[in-house]
Symmetry: C2
Subunit: 261 residues, 2 copies
């Protein structure tokens, strides 16, 4: 059992050695967590523009220098090629491998985009007395493909992915106000209520992560998700891309409070 109160660096070092390869929800509470997409420089402008046009799904926290594996602003002693618990390799839009280390794939024209993750604000929701169901049940958060078209940019287009947390009706407003303070990790929900309204066919069969119990009367609340770049990669089929595995996030040194400005 890994201590959930490890420092972010301690947890990253366990990812680096392959010792930790699990979803990161609940770890290092108070610290921000991040999604990943790595692309060659030739695709970097289009992706950065895509993120600018779709800030709810892709709030960019940091972009690495071309060819560098180092995170400079959001953490120190942080290697983007080893410090996520799990990566996915996409070739021509198809996922071909999951791995805990992408060092062997590294190219000197790679740019890494570090994108805010909604796991960040879960500790604030818990502080506010809101249960995080997938935490309680020891599962990964459920994530769904939607029918929400992102604004396209250059070669990139596709539909938004969302994460879902079931919330008791009495706590829905508090859920919105607490998460709205953190737009850099997705902020307020994109949808509250009927999953079908955003094109989700079966709430018990998420495309990414695990399903969770939804108690009678609970409201399904949806946030834009940093797995959206993977939906975009599957749709737009760039030659090569590396992402994190959904739910297997980079834990940053930076705290939620530092992102509130």
């Amino acid at each position: 059992m890994v201590d959930k109160n490890l420092t972010p660096l301690e947890l990253r070092k366990m990812c680096r050695t392959g010792e930790f390869a699990k979803p990161t929800s609940g770890y290092c509470p108070g610290h921000a967590q991040a999604n990943l997409i790595i692309l060659p420089k030739e695709d970097a402008y289009d992706f950065l523009l895509f993120a600018q046009r779709n800030p709810k799904a892709c709030p960019v926290l940091e972009v690495t220098e071309v060819g560098s594996r180092e995170i400079k602003y959001m953490a120190s002693d942080c290697d983007v090629a080893t410090d996520f618990p799990m990566y996915r390799i996409y070739k021509d839009g198809v996922m071909v491998e999951e791995t805990t280390d992408v060092s062997k794939y590294w190219q000197d024209d790679f740019v890494a985009f570090i994108i805010g993750c909604s796991f960040s604000f879960e500790s604030e929701m818990i502080d506010a007395g809101i249960e995080i169901r997938h935490n309680t049940e020891g599962r990964n958060v459920p994530m769904y493909m939607t029918n929400i078209e992102c604004l396209p940019a250059g070669k990139f287009s596709g539909k938004m992915v969302v994460s879902m947390r079931p919330i008791p009706p009495k706590q829905v407003v508090k859920t919105v106000t607490v998460t709205a303070t953190l737009p850099k990790v997705h902020g307020s929900p994109i949808h509250i209520g009927d999953p079908a309204a955003i094109g989700i066919k079966d709430i018990n069969n998420p495309e990414f992560g695990d399903s969770v119990t939804i108690n009678p009367g609970e409201v399904t609340v949806f946030w834009p998700c940093g797995v959206t770049p993977q939906s975009i990669v599957m749709n737009s089929k760039p030659k090569f891309a590396i992402t994190h595995a959904p739910g297997y996030m980079l834990v940053l040194d930076v705290k939620n409070v530092d992102l509130k400005e």
Copy 2:
């Protein structure tokens, strides 16, 4: 005397014909206003990354398609080459011309960055009972070079420019809370109080715009300013850049309320 309650399109059309060539503070209240920098595509990634790293000074509202003069998301029937009241042409970091129309300079590799302006939230400050001194005095807002280094990106680096509004002590907190709701047009102030603390030598001699009366006891409140890209151009000396003239902004169709999400 131009009616301050023209629609944004009506005002833009007067800019397009050269009929309106004044600072836009106070015009079309409730609508967002924007700064500009136009660069060739080869410099666009570095600038977009600069904006990502310096979101308080450079909150990007929209980026045009390469070669296109059309604003698509923030306004309709809007030409970036004619619809600002005044432009500045920079060659090798030096301002060489002011003009009301940059059509003749247009190249098919140009990208325009539309950046939020603090004029946007002035109508909300006025609604909250806060006097906007440069409005009252019929002047341009005072803007200053500071000693605040922006985070560099690629070829771009330099110091932040700020705008200043003098505020009675009793209204300083309200000033922060009202403006903090609009991060896409600079949001909360970057500094409250002593100008010298951010490297401003003479509050009565702004580098851009006009000086305004500061009544005894009033607090000088400073916001990051979208003239920062011009400070960056002067420092980094790209071959060619077009900007707006400080205070001579593009008035957008989009309203402040649409930017609060």
